[in-house]
């Protein structure tokens, strides 16, 4: 009798659960973070924020983590999410620890370690200035410098790879000038260029030019001669061999050069903005640091992390598309 009354409950239990704890640690860790945030009182040592941004953030991410099992239909999608689950769980635990150490108990200096609430507040309230103006200005500078440096590097690299006279005159230049860190040029660049902006473009281009040039030329010089022999026996003239044999064959190394160029261009961009260019994310961070607004500094760092991560991801997407012919590529 009792058992028959409880039967619906048994049935409920025997059904596969949508959110088993073992597979959904992130969801439960996020819930814990939200409960801690709501139940504990803040120490009052941090400036108050207008709105509880951290709560908003946690609720939004919780909705996401509770919702994906309903949206992800294919086993592949589910497996992908489940694979990342532990990582997100630890990320939530870290955020909780940070929240406790700053907002709730203020275990670390309040001025240098703002609450998650305040960092999120900067991202939201300073959006127009930080994202639209500073990020746009940094992006413009970075892309102008990157593409001019990449183009110059490709041209000198191809010239060195294919022409003996070019190699004779350019190689020493690259060997001597290349290893100088681009930022060491700042004292000269600041006086030699008409504006600091053009100077900064030059520095970023320089940091991309060196690795691109070296990798392009060594890529071309390492192409097996038989490919050129075969192509010439197929009727290919010199120009055709350069563009349809030499450069494609060197592409894997060219991408390696562009990648290290991109990494060093990020560094150069930040330094150039902090030293000369009075604009952009790098300058924003430096300026906010001087004003001791560390919430803004962290917000700036988050913006940098997200945008550089996106750029590198985009870069590798393009590379994977171009190098689809390669066996066993290095994954990003």
């Amino acid at each position: 009798m009792v058992k028959s009354l409880l039967l619906p409950l048994y049935r409920l239990k025997s059904q596969p659960r949508l959110w088993p704890i073992r597979d959904h640690l992130a969801l439960w860790a996020g819930l814990l973070a939200l409960i801690l945030e709501l139940s504990l009182r803040s120490s009052g040592l941090h400036p108050a924020v207008e709105r509880p941004y951290f709560q908003y953030f946690l609720i939004l991410t919780l909705v996401y983590f509770a919702g994906w099992p309903l949206i992800a239909r294919s086993p592949a999608q589910r497996a992908k999410m489940l694979n990342k689950d532990n990582f997100y769980a630890v990320a939530f635990l870290f955020l909780s620890a940070l929240n406790l150490a700053t907002s709730k108990y203020t275990l670390i200096p309040a001025i240098f370690f703002p609450t998650p609430d305040r960092i999120l507040a900067v991202l939201v309230e300073d959006f127009n200035y930080l994202i639209l103006e500073c990020l746009f200005s940094s992006g413009k500078l970075l892309l102008t410098g990157f593409f001019s440096g990449a183009l110059a590097g490709l041209i000198t690299g191809v010239a060195i790879g294919f022409s003996k006279p070019a190699a004779y005159w350019l190689n020493p230049l690259i060997k001597i000038l290349g290893p100088i860190p681009p930022t060491a040029w700042i004292p000269i660049v600041l006086v030699a260029f008409p504006t600091t902006w053009t100077g900064a473009v030059f520095l970023i281009a320089l940091s991309v030019w060196f690795p691109t040039s070296v990798m392009t030329s060594s890529g071309i010089l390492n192409v097996q001669n038989a490919y050129f022999e075969v192509s010439s026996a197929l009727g290919a003239k010199r120009i055709y061999q350069i563009f349809l044999v030499g450069i494609p064959a060197a592409m894997p190394l060219i991408f390696t050069g562009l990648f290290s160029g991109a990494c060093s261009s990020f560094l150069t961009l930040m330094t150039a903005e902090m030293v000369g260019v009075k604009n952009g994310i790098g300058w924003y961070i430096n300026w906010q640091r001087e004003m001791l607004s560390y919430a803004n500094v962290y917000a700036g760092l988050i913006v940098i992390a997200i945008s550089f991560y996106s750029l590198i991801t985009l870069f590798f997407k393009i590379r994977d598309r171009v190098l689809v012919w390669q066996k066993g590529m290095i994954k990003w």
Binding site: Q224, E229, L234, A236, L244, P248, A249, M251, W325
Partner: protein, 270 residues
């Protein structure tokens, strides 16, 4: 039935004249190494000629000279009366390693010669035809690293043939293949040749292969590289691999190359 009698051919496209050609290479110690010494050879239009000999006999050097990849130190090489001066599309080339361009799919590998000669838009229908010819009709969109050795070699033949060359130069084209693929490919080459009527010059280490495929076998010896003997292979095609007459030719070639070996008569019998 393939016309094997060279005299029957009316065409004169693809005649190679090698007139006392010598080739020296600089040696690291400053002296010069004579790789080829005064080689004279004429190859008729549509003929299948194999160069055979031990390594160092200059057979690959001779092939590279005809391809135009290297220049003769003395003497002259002519194709249909024109002096050979550098590589060109009229002499197709296939190596032991197929050297397909790994960044191009098979269709674009085969189309390379058309693009290089800027006739791709007028003649792109040929790509499919030549892929069919070598039995790779369904593999146009595949990249070279997905192909087996035999398939890659066939793709490389299609790539060379699409230019309608007068001569096809083959440097141990089947050397890297296993015995069965090799035999299939030998028949494949004969079939392609029957459909295209091209002069073929092949470097090989394999005596049986040379006899099975060729109209003439040029036996070369090293130190310095020179032509020792030219043997006619008089058998009509298609040839049977187990043709007993092959055997005497085989031992003849091996004897010239000093590889026949000697069976010592025992001194006495019990």
């Amino acid at each position: 039935m393939v016309a094997t009698n060279v005299a029957e051919r009316v065409r004169t496209r693809g005649v190679i004249d090698i007139k006392s050609v010598s080739k020296t290479y600089p040696h690291p110690d400053g002296s010069e190494v004579l790789a080829l010494a005064k080689v004279d050879l004429t190859i008729a239009a549509g003929e299948y000629v194999s160069l055979i000999g031990p390594s160092g006999c200059g057979k690959s050097t001779l092939l590279r000279l005809i391809a135009g990849l290297e220049k003769a130190s003395s003497g002259a090489l002519e194709l249909d009366g024109q002096v050979i001066d550098g590589p060109d599309a009229d002499r197709g080339l296939a190596f032991q390693n197929p050297f397909l361009f790994p960044w191009l799919n098979i269709h674009n590998n085969v189309a390379f010669g058309l693009r290089a000669r800027r006739v791709y838009h007028q003649q792109k229908h040929l790509v499919g035809q030549f892929l069919e010819l070598v039995g790779l009709g369904k593999f146009g969109q595949v990249y070279p690293h997905h192909l087996s050795g035999g398939m890659a070699q066939r793709a490389s033949l299609a790539r060379a043939l699409i230019n309608n060359p007068r001569v096809l130069l083959l440097d141990e084209p089947l050397g890297a293949l296993d015995a069965f693929t090799r035999m299939t490919m030998q028949d494949e080459i004969l079939r392609i040749r029957a459909e295209n009527q091209i002069t073929m010059l092949m470097v090989t280490h394999d005596v049986d292969e040379a006899i099975y495929l060729s109209d003439r076998v040029v036996v070369m010896t090293p130190g310095p590289g020179q032509v020792e003997t030219v043997l006619n292979i008089p058998f009509p095609r298609p040839r049977a691999r187990n043709n007993p007459d092959f055997l005497s030719l085989r031992s003849q070639i091996l004897e010239i190359l000093n590889f026949a070996g000697q069976v010592e008569e025992p001194a006495y019998h019990i």
